[in-house]
């Protein structure tokens, strides 16, 4: 039951883009076409889940025992950068088709604040999913990371669909490009606000 609540909360209620404002740059940058949007979502999904697993373990077995939690920011960004590089190398060798689909997005992901944001959230924030406030354990962290990145994909795909239509419509000159996109995201965020209150 709790896993179910985590999933609903992370995808709809606290959507990472529309409610938490993480990962906006790639969200606006690559959502012009549906195909690139799905590619980026896939890559983000993969990296967020993997990065959360690794940073959770680094935090629990390295930083906490040594009492150097204040180094979390530095340690995590290094882990994420190294991880992305490694994923790129492994994918290139083992699965060229997947690499050609996700490859160009991977270098961009290091500076996607969604990855570092989720990793830091998991180890520093206490969550209440129906029960008492507590830090997430490893299983919950992974479910949370996966669900959050699915929420990212959902927002991205919906927005790319809207944007493809938007590019065909007449827009006043000053609104062209990003401004009209931002106003559209605002309305989308308003629609997602309808989910708030479903899960505390």
């Amino acid at each position: 039951m709790e896993y179910f609540l985590i999933i609903i909360s992370a995808i709809f209620v606290n959507n990472i883009v529309l409610a938490q404002f993480l990962g906006i740059c790639p969200f606006l940058g690559v959502s012009n076409k549906l195909s690139t949007a799905t590619g980026m979502s896939g890559a983000v999904c993969f990296v967020i889940t993997l990065a959360t697993l690794v940073t959770y373990l680094v935090n629990k077995f390295l930083l906490v025992p040594l009492h150097i939690e204040f180094l979390q920011t530095i340690a995590f960004i290094l882990v994420i950068a190294a991880l992305v590089q490694m994923v790129e190398i492994v994918l290139k060798k083992t699965s060229p088709s997947l690499y050609s689909a996700l490859g160009i997005f991977l270098p961009l992901i290091t500076t996607n604040c969604a990855v570092l944001g989720v990793a830091l959230n998991v180890v520093t924030k206490q969550f209440t999913f129906g029960g008492e406030a507590h830090f997430l354990n490893l299983g919950e962290s992974l479910v949370y990371a996966l669900a959050t990145s699915l929420g990212y994909g959902l927002a991205m795909v919906i927005f790319a669909g809207i944007r493809e239509h938007l590019s065909l419509s007449e827009v006043p000159k000053a609104f062209k490009g990003v401004p009209i996109a931002l106003v559209t995201v605002g309305i989308l965020a308003m629609a997602f606000m309808g989910f708030s209150g479903m899960v505390k």
Binding site: F21, T73, L78, L120, I180, V183, G186, I187, A189, M193
Partner: protein
């Protein structure tokens, strides 16, 4: 006008990080629920930007080209950690409000962007001026956005309330952030940006 003053001024209008370069969108949208919050986020970023710009311009000549990005990220992360510790000690309330977005300055594209585009090729003083200009441009944009959202959303400005009761709450919440920024960009495009 001297070149240093020119650099600072460029950061305000021509290279305004928020309205022109569209960098650092996440903190821009997330922390501008009021003018004061926007201002503090802007100043925090300014701090990291100036120090990391200076440090990077000083070490750039000796950093091997192949590893320059990781080195820059570590430098930036160091200053962010410094800022986190300082804020926890002296302004714990502000640190609590801005929350996750203080450590996330590490992945703010403005900081790495200026390091890569400017600081790695220019002297320490010029890089500091560039950092101040871009940082102030960012601070200004955040404060303006925060003020607009605060006026519409809670009927107050810098905490001073001028209506009784609530404002339009949606502007303090997520949708208002996107919509206000969109409209501010339209105004900026129309009146300030010269081709």
């Amino acid at each position: 006008m001297s070149s240093k003053a020119r650099l600072i001024l460029d950061g305000f209008v021509k290279n305004n990080p928020t309205f022109v370069l569209l960098l650092g969108m996440c903190p821009t949208l997330a922390t501008t629920t009021s003018a004061v919050n926007g201002l503090s986020m802007g100043l925090a970023t300014l701090f990291v930007l100036v120090l990391s710009n200076m440090a990077i311009s000083a070490i750039a000549p000796v950093v091997p080209d192949k590893v320059h990005i990781p080195v820059y990220i570590v430098v930036i992360a160091t200053f962010v950690t410094l800022l986190q510790l300082l804020m926890q000690a002296y302004t714990p309330a502000v640190y609590e409000t801005l929350g996750l977005f203080i450590p996330l300055i590490v992945v703010n594209c403005i900081v790495l962007g200026r390091a890569e585009a400017f600081a790695s090729r220019n002297g320490v003083i010029a890089s500091a001026a560039d950092g101040i200009g871009v940082g102030l441009g960012f601070t200004l944009a955040l404060t303006v956005l925060g003020a607009v959202r605060e006026i519409l959303g809670s009927g107050s400005i810098f905490g001073w309330k001028f209506i009784s009761g609530d404002g339009m709450l949606a502007f303090v919440m997520a949708p208002g952030a996107f919509i206000c920024l969109g409209y501010l960009m339209v105004l900026f495009n129309k009146y300030l940006k010269k081709e």
